[in-house]
Symmetry: D2
Subunit: 247 residues, 4 copies
């Protein structure tokens, strides 16, 4: 059974009435609910728990970590960021959600600024499938709408994704690479754009389906290849004679 840890900074829900109404128990509770409906074994963790709820033990027993943060990226301790990154490179799946694009974890794994354009105007977003062969698109229509969304627009400063699964259209005139796959070390990472806290986006069926698809796709392989590093013995005899010529 795939074990998912749903992480949320859990700040907006406690400070903003609109958000609290949509997510009374926190965004993490609704994401967890979507995943449990898919048969995943789900735990949650939040910023203000000790070690942000992301101890070594927790991560060692996590197959996929989902990350939602926005207002408090800077409050995430660097030591925990390094710990999460280490676990991703060692095989833990990572789903980075919406404003998580600016989290320390994602920026560190991408190596770029992860900058973008944004506008909060309750506009319509349409997501189009650009890679119908990818398992994350399974069970979805070729496009679907998020009726009210915060806009994110290009240029999105990320490395070219290893696969581009969704491409977004916004009412106000922008596009965005909304579903991006990255392999890093032994880990599989999926960035998924929708999810602004003031709209009920994680209650929407297509979004919940994508979370489940992505968690299944990203889940740690228990027997991924065991990589060795450093000084290596040769298998073949090496001819160290100097009489070779440069061609």
């Amino acid at each position: 059974m795939t074990r998912v840890t749903v992480w949320n900074e859990f700040v907006h829900e406690q400070e903003n009435d609109t958000v609290a109404e949509i997510y009374p128990d926190g965004i993490h509770a609704v994401i967890a609910d979507a995943l449990e409906a898919g048969g995943f074994d789900v735990e949650t963790a939040t910023l203000h728990e000790p070690e942000h709820g992301l101890t070594e033990d927790v991560l060692a027993e996590t197959d996929v970590l989902t990350w939602w943060g926005h207002a408090a990226h800077d409050q995430v301790e660097d030591e925990i960021v390094e710990r999460v990154k280490h676990h991703v490179l060692e095989g833990m799946g990572l789903l980075v959600l919406h404003s998580g694009h600016f989290s320390k974890v994602f920026k560190s794994l991408m190596g770029t600024t992860c900058n973008l354009k944004w506008r909060e105007a309750g506009e319509t977003e349409r997501l189009w499938v650009t890679d119908p062969a990818h398992p994350i698109a399974e069970g979805l229509p070729e496009s679907f709408e998020v009726p009210e969304a915060e806009m994110y627009g290009e240029h999105f400063d990320i490395p070219q994704p290893d696969a581009l699964v969704f491409n977004s259209w916004f009412e106000g005139g922008e596009t965005f690479r909304s579903g991006c796959v990255f392999h890093r070390g032994k880990g599989r990472i999926f960035y998924f754009r929708p999810g602004h806290e003031t709209y009920p986006i994680y209650h929407q069926d297509e979004v919940r389906q994508i979370l489940r698809n992505a968690a299944e796709w990203a889940a740690r392989d228990d027997d991924a290849p065991d990589i060795t590093r450093g000084n290596a013995e040769p298998v073949e005899d090496i001819d160290t004679s100097d009489d070779r010529t440069v061609h």
Copy 2:
């Protein structure tokens, strides 16, 4: 005229007689010579200069930075690393050479450990062109040998390159992705494997040709698109009525 800054930590050459014999004026002097032969406007900079020779002014006037380091990665100040990274993302080309795979700059831009296997046994390396359409391969044979090399072997923990230009074979039984292209922000990055300090690799014709090709390819475009970020105005009128239904 394309301006190249050749950076070298310049440690081995002052501490090891073998290296000093091959590179009496430093590895940077030989790399600079290869580039000057291609008509580039070349300056050099080294670790022990103030700000490692990489002031804001120097980087602002650099179209391509080449990076060679090995023994003293930790002595490169974090502030300079951030400065170099910023300039790359804003359009400065970057050529990362050999053991530079473990430099702070490269690891930060890749987001991975950049780990690999290695062995120092003076073995033969053969580099094969895997992307003959790439400008970095121009003027080269389909393969060439480095007669004595330090081995670097897979797994090389990097993001999948945007183009794989060279693939290496080693006498002792390993392969390595030796010529890797990455686009990051507005910047073009090329990682090139050969270049161990105890062998005269930067004196070799094919290697020098690759340095020139890569510098030409990576050079900053003075009029790359001017990217804006943050809050954006819509171009189209946005219909904020609530009567849309989720499809």
Copy 3:
């Protein structure tokens, strides 16, 4: 001096008054004009010339071929398609324009259906730069509009491009990967979406700039690596003893 051959089926301009008014001498004449303004050495060729104007001699002396076709894809002879494809794989650049997505040449090089959605409603298109590090984006703003365009929408059935330079937004609700880079053999290919015959799109400055950038980027390298094929001699001695064990 880079030699470009501008190919056009040249059918609509002779049959449709609207098109004839915008392109009185054919679409190829306007594309040629845009390229000549960039210092290219330009020739044109059209469907109804012998061998469609694409003899072995013409292609052998072409560094970049541009392809515009729509109504008469089926009239292009298979032998010429194979000839063009062969030259691309041997290093000739290829710019495939707009409805050229359905040309035999492009479909054969992609290996997919190259299907898409379309709508002719004179709607606004906005092109966003998604890879500001790519030379094809040089000198462009981060986005620009085509005021009246035929819509092309996802899913666009192509292999994932090696680089995605432009992403389009359409007034009616679709997105499209509008500027796609592919390396094939020794050849560089760029697919560029805008260019419907009933709108003056090849008269537009940004579009003309992109044609020039792409032609410069795609141009044949005269000394690309000379690839050998077939039976190969070993460089290393091969140990054919049977006493090795499978690890």
Copy 4:
């Protein structure tokens, strides 16, 4: 239960004693055995059956097709090639094995010559994992040897793979991209290099594990997105007024 059809031209086994000894019931029988051991529902098909055993009905009920051919590529009828290609683009997985690189099906899907170097000298091959995050690498060591193999060497004329899972080293001095992933349409394709008919390669454990991993990864998603094509209705009202200016 995933349904695999194992296709084999089945020529060498009936004409060559060495091959017949290693594969008395044909290569397909041994591949089928490897897959059945993984719980797949396996059927076989061969060249000399009517329609090469690949009727519409067979393909419609195939989740993954494996392809081994060498001596008789030209005897595969074009109509069947088109049929297989259509099914791949519509979602059927495809595993192309060894000399299948030169099959009509693979060349048509790649759009390139699929040329390579080769040498038959019974030399050792070592396969290195280059993408340990990919499910096809699951359960494997970081490298393994094929003790006697036909050599395939670069340049391998294929599009850059969407993921490079294995990189091969050969005793005689060559490298090869041996495990290549491609998304095409709704279909997932894996090219896997080892498998020469005169060596018992499909009897080897690691190779059999890779066949099972790849079949699981490539298997058709029954509910992949349903892509529509052609003329599309707009969702948004389109403003067709002419008063917009080109920016």
